[in-house]
Amino acid sequence: MRHDSTVLDEVSETGSVLSGPVESRDFPEWFREQQQDGWKQFVSLPSPKRKDQLWRFSNVDLLNLTPFKFGGALPDKERNAILEQSRGLDKVAARLIFAGDQLIERDVLSDQLKKRGVIFQPLERAMIEHGELFRKHFMSQPAVLGSGKFAALHQALVSSGTFLYVPRGVEIDLPIEIFHWLHGENASVFPHLLLVTDELAKVTVIESFRSLDKEAAGFACGVNDLIAGPGAKVTYVCTQNWGSNVVALQMNSTIVDHDASAMSLNLHLGGKYSRFESLSRLIGEGGRSDLLAISVANDTQEFDARSLQDHISPHTASDLLYKNALSDRARTTFGGLIRVEPHAHFTDAYQKVRNLLLSDDSEANSMPGLEILADNVRCTHGATSGQIDADELFYLRTRGIPVPIAQRLIVSGFLNEVLQRLDHEAIADHLRRLIEDKFANE
């Protein structure tokens, strides 16, 4: 077995994520084989280099995984602290809380939804009770945005997560909530969400990533696959608030079938280095995908967002809006591509990234890209980088508002455009509070 230089530079001890998949507990055989395949791939694929186009501007030196271990035992005290702090929305349809990739609490769906065939289960149960359906979609999307190696690692080491299936015509009004917690020093988690919606189904999911100890080093490597069936409506919100020494990689993909619409909003607050890859594939006519993201970056945080809006079928639409507010020595990178495949005529695609630089040492990199292989399309993108308008600040000061508060108001207003696009007041309020909390702790 060839050990890769930067990732596997030391012989790994037991309990390290670099010692490979743990021999299964109760996983079915096909799953164990997939784990082994994933591990082989992880070991054989090269580590990302800064020169790779998909890692341009990224600080790849932060990807040394040597210190990270599988999660340990969870003492009662910590368990209670996690449950205490797992507060999100007031009203939810169901809830799962994971700590160190172990399910520690669940609020089940109403009997009515269960009767209609909705499945909301941890991964390890779904792969046995709904084997065929689960297997069909599990890890079925390619990791094309640079993190193939880490998607393979995820496949090798994932041990829990969420499977949500919404059958034909079922609409779930209240959001479904999922928490993933990191606890302990140098711990790692491999969050997984597989969401499959059938025709005309409707669902909203909000996922939260948290660290119990805000200073502890940690590693998160998540995969998230949303499959929007014909005419389905899927809304996915993620609030990433890992501790300040966490290295996080998240690989999301969304498949949008005909007449379906998918909307995702990712709020990035935590982590030391956080990479977020988002693939949106529009495979059926009339499909629409909205990709929204907000990053509030301070200290020496680095947020690295990569996206691909892949228009495969004609008559599809996509709209990306990412906003970054940067202070201190923070860095953000945006690498986005709209790709219109041959024959995907009548594509309507939009992509916009806006950076608000609040300090002299912050740095924003933008690489908005287009690859158009069909005509009869309307594709535009824009990227702006700027700072707070001196006139706006002056106006607020004349109204007696001190500079720091005025700045915060302007930044909140800048980010609010993204939250409004969500069109879900309760969730938007929740996200606003999280953003305010981060400002308050600066």
Partner: protein, 469 residues
């Protein structure tokens, strides 16, 4: 819009002829230290130039092709089959009478003598690698403007030449700048003294004639404090059967308060690899403006750059690319802000016809602690047929709070309503399409000098012929 019809073969009859080759000096095919010594011997290079060439060769051989981001088509270049140097064995000509008869005929076909003499102050025509005809109007010469071939420049004016040569674009900038550094020959050297404003544009024509012959001209323009100059280069080339390589290096230096405008109309035949490095340095209050128009070639890779080194320096790139069947126009711009209050502007328009592919690649860099830097980038792409392709890959880095950068790009096609309307008014579909495309590029073309905009519009019409219908 009808999308099934493929684009018609380009009418290149204007540039499509060649006369028998009479090359007195020929370095043979392939590249080795021997080739370099041969070139240096023939050109009677000073020692420092010979060393410069050898360093260029070493770097060229060491560097890999940039195919990790650039087109794999580069691999089709067979560097061993290219002839890196030939010269008609004649010295630069001063008067028209001394120009060889067959070369005169070539120029006649291109319509150079009558047209250009009227408009242009000086003519520096490069036929293959040596300047065979150069003429500066007396008035320009009297102002102290130096306008000579690069070989003559480095020998006659070493004190100015050496100071800037290879400084804006170092040998190791990229594989092809290294290649040029090794085998350069021809090109222009221009020096404009302080305060001199050259009224008429200076112009050079480049042609590739000997089959399989790479042309490696090297141009260095220095505008001293407060001076102004416009340089124009136009390229047409006869058609050949095998691929040809053109790899130029152009360095511009605009000292305090100077203005340089560099205009290119590139119309190489569709078998030419056009891999050019162009960069300008703008000191305090200076301005460097590239106007770049790419119509021909098989693959063009060209990203004119401006390094704004002094306060209030300005950089601008206006570019038009037209990609027809079998062509890939990979063009763009780089703007490096290195001082406060520097501003830059990039406007790029591309048109893809048939199976053509147009790519915009851009870089805007604003480092920290700079104040009041501004960049504006606009990229618009027009797709004519269903098989046409366009890409945009900008990279923008901004640090600090004092700067503003905006980038915008759009992709569209000619609207069916517009075409329908014009057909109602009695135009054929092809005419209507041509008119629409001219409208798309019109606001850019208007910024070109008059004679160029006329030529450009005609070239676009020529390319559009038969693309619809």
């Amino acid at each position: 819009m009808k999308t099934e019809t493929s684009a018609v073969d380009i009418n290149r009859s204007i540039g499509d002829f060649a006369y028998p080759e009479v090359h007195v000096r020929d370095a043979g095919a392939g590249l080795s230290e021997k080739t370099i010594h041969y070139i240096s011997d023939v050109k009677e290079d000073p020692d420092w130039v010979r060393e410069f060439r050898l360093r260029g060769l070493k770097t060229f051989l060491e560097k890999p092709l940039p195919t990790h981001w650039a087109s794999k088509d580069l691999e089709a270049i067979d560097f061993d089959k290219i002839r890196y140097y030939l010269s008609p064995g004649t010295e630069a000509k001063r008067t028209w009478e001394e120009v060889p008869e067959d070369i005169k005929r070539t120029f006649e076909r291109l319509g150079i003598p009558e047209q250009e003499r009227k408009f242009l102050a000086g003519v520096e025509a490069q036929f293959d690698s040596e300047a065979v005809y150069s003429n500066i109007k007396k008035a320009v010469g009297e102002q102290g403007v130096i306008f000579v071939g690069s070989t003559e420049g480095l020998k006659k004016y070493p004190e100015i030449f050496r100071k800037w040569f290879g400084k804006v674009i170092p040998i190791a900038d990229n594989k092809f700048s290294a290649l040029n550094s090794a085998v350069f020959s021809g090109g222009s050297f221009i020096y404009v003294p302080p305060g001199v404003k050259v009224k008429h544009p200076l112009q050079a024509y480049f042609r590739i004639n000997a089959e399989n012959f790479g042309q490696f001209e090297r141009t260095l323009i220095i505008a001293d404090e407060g001076s102004e100059v416009t340089y124009m280069e136009g390229c047409t080339a006869p058609k050949f059967n095998t691929t040809t390589l053109h790899s130029a290096v152009v360095e511009l230096v605009a000292l305090k308060g100077a203005k340089i405008q560099y205009i290119t109309v590139q119309n190489w035949s569709a078998n030419v690899f056009n891999l050019v490095t162009k960069r300008g340095l703008a000191q305090e209050n200076a301005e460097v403006k590239w106007i770049d128009c790419n119509i021909g070639s098989r693959l063009t890779m060209k990203y004119p750059s401006v390094i704004m080194k002094g306060r209030k320096a300005r950089g601008e790139v206006l570019s038009i690319a037209l990609a027809n069947d079998g062509q890939h126009q990979d063009t763009g711009a780089k703007m490096i802000h290195a001082a406060d209050e520097t501003t830059s502007n990039i406007i790029s328009k591309s048109i893809s016809i048939g199976k053509g592919r147009a790519t915009y690649r851009g870089l805007v860099h604003v480092p920290k602690h700079l104040k009041n830097c501004k960049n504006n980038t606009e990229c618009d792409a027009l797709l004519i047929n269903a098989t046409s392709r366009t890409d945009t890959y900008p990279a923008i880095t901004v640090r600090g709070t004092g700067n503003a950068v905006q980038h915008e790009a759009s992709v569209s096609q000619v609207s069916a309503e517009q075409i329908f309307y014009m057909q109602q008014r009695g135009l054929t579909e092809a005419q209507a399409m041509s008119l629409s495309v001219n409208g798309f590029v019109n606001d850019l073309v208007r910024q070109f000098p008059m004679e160029y905009s006329v030529e450009l519009k005609r070239l676009i019409e020529l390319e559009m012929e038969g693309s619809v219908g």
